[in-house]
């Protein structure tokens, strides 16, 4: 088997989870997928029910196997498997064996070998074993005895995420061979496992267990079959006694296998549909250890930053926040972090108005916000540019008006019942406190909120030791006429003695562009792209496409779908100069619409999947602009697979 015959590419990431593709000779199939054990051939047939599956031999034991006989005949759809370990003392001996096979005897290419990883060993030993294996070029890993971790969420995350995902390159395949019930598949896919063995369907059938997506049921106790698959539809539960033991086994097996099959399709579909995280939150109810593991992954800062690196910056789906875990979603934490670290408020701001969120997005198109805006404008009149509005919301914390169109602020849904739990309140208070601390003493804070929102603002004001003026009094809601009147006059009062130094009518739009740039590319980038010293023109009506020009040359476009900027090459140059969001290509001319990892020599570590990035050559000349498929770190690590989908090439450069 030549090294080109089998390889793996990651195509779409959602954190550690991914849709990948296994290429085998001229065929290919998608992952996550199922590996069927074939007990007569002693190998797995990988790839759901693919007619041209990848065959992977089962491992022998490193100790008990008689000096293993290995066929050296080239076989183009078969991977040989290194003997497996269950004993720390053999790590070095095993590695010597592998080195011998690949480097000295040259019996195999590293790509033709599957490498078993005993997940029940000491983390330090697994880590050593894997690092060496990766160095030798191994890319197919069989995770063994993962079942021993499933009851211990801490261990599960430490080993699968902390060790295995951390060490394996993005173009490595993870094939899990342990006995695991179907409801662990989704969560383990979330941790980045690509291939699942469905042996449990057989064991469960022999145990008279009826599997579902979230449970293992005792068949003997069932009054109804919850599943409508053809096997279940054709099985008469009431005539159970008429069926022989073999018939019951065959029925249960067929149904159980169908559960694996359908779950794996649904996993792929959910990753593709960009709703995978939501579906994982839903499955945490199946097992406390999944719930625990998700908590560790979200809240332990080492792991959450490892996951965040591979979370796309935009999705096409609605962002559903329906569980308490949503508060700690990597994308939500990223939002709060960027708001505080990257977004600096405009200098000319003299009032901050704190508003409640609305169900309709973007906020400014909701009924309530239309009222608020009318009062604010009425109070500020020509001095409107001195007002900065922020919206208080869970789980994002704070949404500056400028970012209301930016994903996920533009597309999130929460249960709006007015019930906030303690953690939510605490988190939102912290974000608001931190955000407000950026404003000087001369800036006046106005809070047009009631209920829980008001409590939060009060706490933040205590925390900052800054006064906040409340405009909803006597238990009146923000929408009440009295409140709105008070808002208007409070704005008027606060601004009446201030000099209006701001004249540019486009300032609000420019300010929005700058803040989005800061949020998207880093603190200060807004002023680099749209320098205050230059004449900036804005075209287009918010919330539709808006174009930003400097001296009649376009630098950026606000894309309303996700509220992020697309940059022109001119804009890109300014970013690349700073060393931001570039991907260095190992050449001068890119063929086709995709830049592959193999040609990436360097990339900005800040790059996340779906980020706007610039492909440059060694001299940092821009060759093309596109969207990242992987994170910056990953595209450097991987040898296979797409790194950037190109949107436009730099024509100037082609001549």
């Amino acid at each position: 088997m030549s090294s080109q015959d089998f390889y793996f590419e990651a195509h779409k990431l959602d954190g550690l989870a991914r849709i990948g593709k296994i290429y085998l000779n001229r065929n290919s199939f998608l992952t996550p997928c199922i590996a069927h054990p074939s007990i007569f051939e002693n190998l797995w047939r990988v790839g759901d029910d693919s007619e041209n599956p990848l065959k992977v031999l089962i491992p022998q034991n490193f100790r008990s196997s008689s000096p293993a006989l290995i066929k050296t005949e080239k076989n183009s759809d078969l991977l040989y498997t290194i003997p497996s370990l269950n004993f720390e003392g053999d790590v070095v001996n095993l590695l010597n064996l592998v080195k011998n096979l690949i480097c000295e005897k040259k019996l195999f290419d590293a790509q033709d070998l599957a490498f078993p990883v005993p997940c029940n060993l000491e983390p330090s030993k697994i880590s050593y074993l894997l690092k060496e294996a990766v160095k030798l070029g191994l890319r197919y890993f069989i995770l063994q005895r993962v079942s021993s971790l499933l009851k211990n969420p801490r261990k599960m995350i430490d080993i699968i995420v902390g060790v295995i995902k951390n060490i394996c390159t993005p173009d490595s395949v993870l094939h899990l061979s342990s006995f695991i019930p179907p409801y662990f598949m989704r969560f383990l896919s979330y941790l980045g496992v690509d291939i699942f063995d469905d042996s449990v369907a057989y064991i469960a059938a022999s145990q008279k267990n009826y599997l579902t997506f979230s449970k293992v049921l005792d068949f003997k106790g069932l009054k109804e079959l919850p599943c409508p698959c053809t096997h279940c539809e054709n099985f008469d539960l009431n005539a159970d006694f008429k069926h022989s033991r073999e018939e019951i086994f065959e029925f249960l097996l067929a149904h159980n296998l169908s559960v694996y099959k359908s779950e794996i399709r649904s996993i792929r579909e959910d990753i593709r549909g960009e709703v995978f995280r939501e579906s994982v939150e839903a499955i945490t109810h199946a097992s406390p250890s999944i719930k625990g593991a998700l908590r560790i992954l979200d809240r332990d800062s080492n792991y959450s930053s490892q996951v965040e690196e591979a979370i796309p910056v935009r999705r096409k789906s609605v962002f559903l926040c329906s569980s308490s875990d949503s508060l700690y979603r990597p994308m939500v934490k990223r939002w709060r972090k960027r708001i505080i670290e990257r977004c600096k408020p405009p200098k000319h701001v003299k009032i901050v108005v704190i508003l409640p969120c609305s169900a309709r997005k973007p906020y400014s198109f909701s009924k309530s916000h239309k009222f608020f805006l009318r009062s604010i404008k009425g109070g500020a009149r020509k001095k409107i540019k001195m007002v900065h509005e922020i919206i208080l919301t869970s789980p994002l914390g704070v949404v500056p008006r400028e970012l209301e169109l930016t994903y996920p602020a533009s597309k999130y849904e929460i249960p709006v019942t007015g019930h906030w739990d303690w953690e939510e309140k605490k988190t939102v208070t912290e974000v608001m406190g931190n955000y407000l601390s950026n404003f000087g003493e001369d800036v006046h804070f106005l809070a047009h909120v009631d209920g829980v929102y008001a409590e939060i603002v009060r706490e933040a004001s205590d925390y900052l030791s800054r006064d906040v003026e409340f405009t909803c009094l006597n238990g009146e809601s923000p929408k009440a006429e009295g409140s709105l009147k008070r808002l208007k006059s409070a704005v008027y009062e606060a601004l009446k003695d201030r000099n209006n130094a701001v004249s540019n009518p486009n300032l609000f739009h420019i300010g929005r562009g700058r803040m989005i740039a800061d949020f998207q590319f880093g603190s200060g980038v807004g002023n680099i792209l749209l320098p205050p010293s230059m004449r900036i023109k804005v075209e287009g009506n918010y919330p539709r496409v808006q174009r930003f020009f400097i001296n009649n040359a376009q630098v950026a476009t606000l894309v309303p779908e996700d509220g992020l900027l697309a940059l022109t090459f001119l804009g890109g140059e300014k970013l690349v100069e700073k060393g931001f969001y570039f991907v260095e290509f190992d050449g001068n001319k890119i063929e086709g619409g995709t830049l592959y990892c193999v040609a990436v020599s360097e990339a900005d570590k800040q790059i996340r999947p779906q980020d706007e990035v610039f492909i440059v050559n060694k001299d940092r000349r821009i060759l093309a602009v596109g969207k990242a498929v992987l994170s910056g770190k990953q595209m450097v690590m991987a040898k296979k697979g797409p790194a950037v989908r190109i949107r436009r090439k730099n024509k100037q450069d082609e001549t």
């Binding site: 000096p67 269950n86 005993p118 063994q144 005895r145 079942s147 006995f179 059938a205 008279k208």
Partner: protein, 372 residues
């Protein structure tokens, strides 16, 4: 198609020895060994050469197995050394004292009925560092005066057995049958060395068996069911093959020892790590059935008494049927009748399926699936 060796493996395996030794030493440093041990003994029903009868078992508290005490670390599953007298507590291991204790025990049991006498040491009876030459002789001389004893069993590693010693002992016993039990464990040299660390080869075993037979004594081969690093299915086949091989070289008693998890052993570490599960009782039944089928006419007895049977550290099934199945195994041993092996439980099907899929999952125990 060309076929090549993965590698050529030598039977010496220092890394393996060191690991076993380290685990053992650590454990021995933690437990407090007794300075003085009394002789343990019991009488129970047993399968004797002439049929079902009573046997008196006496355990002499020697210093313990030299192999386990050596720098080899001993065998990967064996924790007998934990029960031996504290090493160096000379006063108790003193051979004269042991002979005295032995005689006293025998005398105290004179009024009881038994035809077989088993003398064990948690090591090798013929090892002179455990029991002096004179003491060994004295013990056999004492036994020879007991008329109702017809069968004497001792245990030893092959390296302590010589033609002269057998000849001498058989002479002293004067008509009583001498059987030497040897822990062959498996006839597969790779498994015996690389999984068990036994320290002798099948050839060493065979040579000694011939010497014993030539000296007109008998050999009992102990076969380990499910050494570490073998799957359940491999273990079943290994045990059956080993019994056949042992009978071929002349062992007339086959004693199956289902592996159990003893403290301070490598097996215990693997077990705690979820890399090892003691054999299912179904596997024992399978081994016994096949062995009776294949070698019944070549041997005098095939016996099995699972230590810690039904417990998580011993051979076990689902928990519901363990008692029943254990009883079937014991009855079969006593009566030498494989017909008595019949037992049923739902977990039989699980075991059967598990045998086929363990090679894929590499999970030694599927029982957690229900409990997660």
């Amino acid at each position: 198609m060309s076929v090549k060796n993965f590698e050529t493996r030598s039977l010496k395996d220092p890394d393996f020895s060191n690991e076993i030794k380290a685990i053992r030493s650590y454990h021995l440093s933690k437990i407090k060994k007794k300075e003085v041990l009394s002789v343990k003994y019991w009488i129970e029903q047993d399968r004797l050469l002439k049929g079902i009868g009573k046997a008196l078992t006496i355990i002499l508290p020697t210093k313990g197995c030299s192999w386990a005490l050596s720098k080899s670390g001993g065998c990967s599953m064996c924790g007998y050394i934990n029960d031996a007298v504290k090493y160096g507590a000379k006063s108790v291991c003193d051979s004269e004292k042991l002979v005295y204790e032995f005689e006293k025990t025998l005398k105290n049991n004179l009024d009881k009925e038994f035809e077989a006498l088993k003398i064990f040491t948690s090591g090798s009876f013929f090892d002179e560092s455990e029991l002096s030459k004179e003491a060994q002789k004295k013990i056999f001389e004492t036994i020879s005066t007991y008329k109702n004893v017809s069968e004497v069993v001792v245990e030893s590693r092959p390296e302590y057995v010589t033609s002269e010693k057998i000849e001498e002992t058989v002479n002293i016993l004067n008509g009583k049958t001498l059987e030497v039990g040897i822990g062959l464990e498996t006839s597969n040299d790779i498994v015996r060395s690389r999984c068990i660390n036994k320290g002798f080869s099948f050839q060493d075993f065979s040579k000694v068996v011939h010497e014993i037979i030539d000296g007109e004594a008998r050999v009992k081969a102990y076969i380990l069911i499910k050494p570490p690093f073998l799957s359940e299915k491999e273990a079943i086949n290994d045990a059956i093959k080993s019994a056949i091989d042992a009978s071929k070289v002349g062992a007339k008693s086959i004693s199956f020892n289902p592996c159990n998890v003893q403290s301070g052993t490598l097996v215990e570490k693997l077990w705690k790590n979820k890399s090892y599960r003691p054999p299912w009782l179904w596997s024992i039944i399978e081994v016994l059935k096949k062995s009776f089928n294949k070698i019944k006419s070549d041997v005098d007895r095939i016996i099995c008494d699972p230590v810690a049977g039904g417990k998580s550290r011993g051979s076990h099934n689902c928990g519901k049927c363990d008692k029943k199945v254990l009883q079937a195994i014991r009855k079969t041993s006593l009566n030498q009748d494989p017909e008595m092996l019949g037992a049923v439980c739902d977990c039989y099907e699980v075991w059967k399926t598990f045998l086929e899929y363990e090679a894929f999952s590499q999970d030694p125990d599927p029982s957690f699936i229900l409990s997660l």
